[in-house]
Symmetry: C2
């Protein structure tokens, strides 16, 4: 237990639900800000129960009755779709202060599993829905969070659409870093709570391609690899260049339908 485990993605558990996101309209200087007021958090904590999941455990399965929403306190969760042939496509990695448990007509649309040991609040959907129908302020905050998640999902789709393995990994690392920029610990130091094959399933590559891309980035001096779970970003500019230059499909680019307003 004295073993050195640099667990950057673990946060001291706050004792009320909390949700963080980049604001929609308010031009705050901070990247992510707490969305809920003290009063809202206190109120949510009344109906919330704490649940824990060991590493690798299933939190819910696609198709299950969606009777609850989860709010992560600590740890990392992945949500994924399972192809009929058993392959798994990861749709998101979720961290502290994220919401989890997207439903469609009363059922979960994807499966969720703990990537690290996870602590979370469990909010019964029935109670929550009642509140959402009545409390405009709470709703507004949820809307902000959903917009945030929507932006993330769109960015994910862009990453997955890239052709170059290097560009995919570079963008993935950039995205991860911007999330971990929270507690001002050593800049450039990145924790990778998820496995290589999780990364592969997220960006749309084979496990081997991810491994090779890591080496290549290191060889070019963009990053350095310490532990398999810990890397350091050495040359942010180069990383950005790799993500951008190598990110585009056809290069010459003849714009299609480039009209502008008359």
């Amino acid at each position: 237990m004295a073993r050195k485990r640099s667990v950057r993605w673990h946060r001291p558990p706050s004792f009320v639900p909390s949700i963080a996101a980049v604001p929609l309209w308010g031009a705050a200087r901070r990247e992510r800000t707490q969305l809920l007021t003290e009063e809202e958090r206190a109120r949510l904590s009344v109906i919330a129960s704490i649940v824990r999941f060991a590493r690798g455990m299933q939190i819910y399965r696609a198709g299950d009755r969606a009777d609850a929403v989860f709010n992560i306190v600590d740890g990392v969760v992945k949500t994924y779709h399972s192809s009929p042939d058993g392959a798994e496509h990861i749709t998101a990695f979720l961290f502290a202060e994220d919401l989890l448990g997207l439903a469609e007509r009363g059922h979960f649309v994807n499966s969720a599993r703990a990537v690290t040991p996870v602590t979370a609040y469990r909010l019964p959907a029935a109670v929550l829905e009642g509140w959402l129908r009545r409390d405009a302020a709470l709703d507004f905050h949820i809307i902000c969070k959903l917009c945030h998640d929507l932006r993330e999902a769109q960015r994910h789709a862009v990453i997955a659409g890239y052709r170059s393995a290097l560009a995919k990994l570079a963008m993935f690392l950039q995205a991860l870093e911007s999330r971990q920029a929270r507690a001002g610990e050593e800049p450039g130091a990145l924790d990778l709570p998820m496995s290589r094959s999780d990364i592969a399933a997220y960006v749309g590559l084979s496990l081997e391609a991810v491994s090779r891309a890591f080496r290549t980035l290191a060889a070019r001096g963009a990053i350095s690899i310490g532990d398999k779970r810990h890397i350091r970003i050495l040359d942010r500019a180069q990383l950005a260049a790799i993500a951008a230059v190598d990110g585009a499909p056809p290069r010459g680019r003849r714009r299609s339908l480039g009209r502008t307003a008359p």
Copy 2:
């Protein structure tokens, strides 16, 4: 003007804003349902103004001040990110009853362009935000819509992450069909309002690969290609099989961390 233009994605303009999505918890039998009440729609129409865009016209640009949200009445819109080198990654195609104009700290996060002639409502963000902060019922409906969009974005990411061109196109066509399943016109008949290169930029392929994938699907009897903008799905099962079988990355699949609750 007597020219036959089967424009399935055009709807008779309703004269109030409307938003449709698959419900979260309510287990309605209908796929998409109108989310707004008559009263809400009437109220929104007071602040809404009608705007029109010709085919190919820019609706807004990433980085612009996000002073309005759009609600499509008729036509198709694409939202996209421009890479620095000029390539364009499409994040979504939007149809009638969709919302448009995602903002972050007061600015649009992506650009939007009309794929067909477009009619839309323009809702000033300032007024809308005021209402969202006060009206819980309206908020709840917006939340449902955002969850819907979030699911779509996740599905998009999965499509983009596929390795096979055939699987990408097959999934794209399935997604398109499930959206057009509205007015009960000929089942299996699909309109493709967007160009091949738009499809390519959406699924993450080269234009040529998309073209070849269309042929291959037709050769296998899964679809038939009439006009370039109109195809017909002949063998839904085969299309689904291609999307599934060819969709997965490594084949043998050894599950990782497959523990279940004790």
